[in-house]
Symmetry: C2
Subunit: 359 residues, 2 copies
């Protein structure tokens, strides 16, 4: 049987890294620290409260959650943000999909600096938005001149800039964000999924100057809530109003809203994991150097290491030793590199032992 599938999907494979629960999982940039017993108890309490009216649709506007997110983001960035300027969805992927539904679409173009988060072009394809990939420099920084030239040439409707960049860990200075905002007539989306692992100032600090700037965040990484699926965005109130036109009604469940609010009430405890994660990341950097490997300077909870002639073979050799890392070497501009994220001390040690055997 041949299904009448949209032509551009024919022959494609679903996005996604292997899920192998028995391995030491250092392949999807998760935070290795599970919720504390206190947080789990609070989550259960919050879910119990939400469950009492689970027969009803959730608050379609998720006002209480967005208020808490605005408060957190204001505190974390030093920029006062009202609830009207914050939006939330099921993971930052859904936030970005909504952005593309609103500002991209057929006949429109999104542009990003590659290698970067591989979901950006996938989301563009899913919303029938054309994609233009502009190469980063060999050191994975953004070449500002080339960037401005590409914006002038392609006149993109949406510009993606990921900082720290996944999968390279590279930060982009705010001056570049500023220059791109000034150069484009489209919207600029700064994907700050890993911002809490970086000491650099957030693009949120530029929001008041640039009404077409959007900053996306997630609770999956520093907040250690990947399983709860909560992404969010700060922008102008006008942008948030536009996203309302494309969001599915009641897109955020009552349980998601309750769980995310509970996690936000435990912000200090959850973000305390960040320093330990950075320590383990830095252990990997040091040990990789001792083993004669290169690493890419990183502001995130992961890093690229290499270079390998046969990264797939190294990936497999590490997996044979029970450690799952990410082989992105088939992606554009990533030949020879593997990506690993920092785990707990034990997980990181397991990786480093396996790596020493393999190299």
């Amino acid at each position: 049987m041949t299904l009448p599938v949209r032509r551009d999907l024919v022959g494609k494979s679903p996005y996604g890294a292997p899920q192998l629960p028995d391995a030491v999982q250092l392949n999807v940039n998760e935070n290795p620290f599970p919720p504390s017993a206190g947080l789990v108890a609070d989550l259960q309490r919050a879910v119990g409260e939400a469950a009492a009216t689970l027969n009803r649709y959730p608050d379609r506007e998720a006002v209480a959650l967005r208020t808490d997110l605005a408060e957190y983001l204001s505190k974390q960035t030093g920029v006062p943000l009202a609830v009207e300027r914050v939006w939330a969805a099921n993971g930052s992927n859904e936030v970005l999909q909504q952005v593309l539904q609103a500002f991209g679409g057929p006949g429109r173009t999104a542009l990003g600096f590659e290698p970067s988060y591989s979901m950006h072009p996938v989301l563009a394809a899913g919303t029938s938005t054309a994609w233009t990939g502009v190469p980063r420099r060999a050191d994975f920084t953004v070449d500002v001149e080339l960037a401005l030239q590409a914006v002038e040439q392609h006149r993109p409707d949406v510009v993606f800039l990921t900082t720290p960049n996944n999968p390279t860990g590279t930060s982009t200075p705010l001056e570049v964000v500023d220059a791109l905002c000034a150069a484009t007539s489209g919207v600029v989306v700064v994907d700050e999924a890993y911002a809490e692992f970086s000491d650099r100032p957030s693009a949120v600090t530029l929001l008041d100057q640039h009404p077409r700037l959007l900053v996306s965040r997630t609770m999956s990484k520093a907040f250690a809530m990947a399983g709860a699926r909560l992404g969010y965005l700060a922008a102008s109130a006008e942008v948030v109003d536009v996203l309302r036109l494309v969001r599915l009604p009641y897109h955020l469940s009552a349980l998601t809203q309750a769980a995310a609010r509970t996690a936000l009430a435990h912000t200090d405890e959850l973000l305390a994991t960040v320093e330990e994660v950075k320590r383990q990341r830095d252990r990997i950097v040091s040990r990789a150097a001792e083993l004669g490997l290169m690493t890419v300077p990183t502001d995130a909870n992961f890093l690229l290491f290499g270079l390998f002639d046969h990264p797939g073979a190294t990936w497999k050799a590490l997996l044979d030793r029970g450690v799952l890392v990410r082989d992105l070497s088939i992606g554009p501009g990533l030949a020879g590199w593997l990506r690993v994220n920092a785990g707990t001390e034990d997980e990181t040690s397991a990786f480093l032992s396996a790596l020493a055997e393999v190299v």
Copy 2:
């Protein structure tokens, strides 16, 4: 400031009924019965278990949940269904959006029989799929000849058929589904959100004959889980494979998966509400007749009542008496009608008292 919004969104308003928690809410076809204390306790237990690894991404394939859904659907329809033939997402809206992303899109057309679920054309617009609305008969049944003619004329890529139909409550015989499947080269989506309130056989019984038939369901209505946002779909395994190409990775949170599985473990208890809801619905039908009103024959948990010269004024008069119903009279083919769903006995009595005052 003018944002560079997609042109077809300019001037639109967000979809959504008023949320007025203080009123008797009979406007969004919710099940009025909240979860039992036993179910809430089980939900808390399940969430506690899921929370222990909430720092990890959820099972991207939601295999355990889809297995439970397949088991329920097999039992409810009498058709053995393997997990490979069942898909799930955050509400049936997300399921249908994925279907349109996969089988609709730019240059493609979806067709439905109106008045029907108003999200179908909204989801089509959100995926840049053209929309063709074919009018139902004056009694809201589907005119088969007109339907087949429209399919031949417009050659839609996606045909929507809602049974029981929202907002009219009208069922469509399986012969019509059968005829549409035979007539179209596109996919046929039978939206069975309200199927459990109906005694008619499900379109799931036709799946083995029609590889391009898709049947969508939800846990928001009979299962009384609107707050948990869980929709699902039964189709061929090939269709499910195609949906994987457009779904956002990890679209279903660990909490959603755990909550839905817990609700499914309480199927008998939850579906026991169906008979009581139908009793209350039938009370409305009888009393409306006594009050000299017309109602549309319904197989769902709601019904249309009227006809009103000024339905907006009647809607307001009911709300002034603390009862919130749905004014859909501005939609195509619904002039003069209001929609109300069955509530608890008390809620239904409140509505009927208010109605008697207003008429």
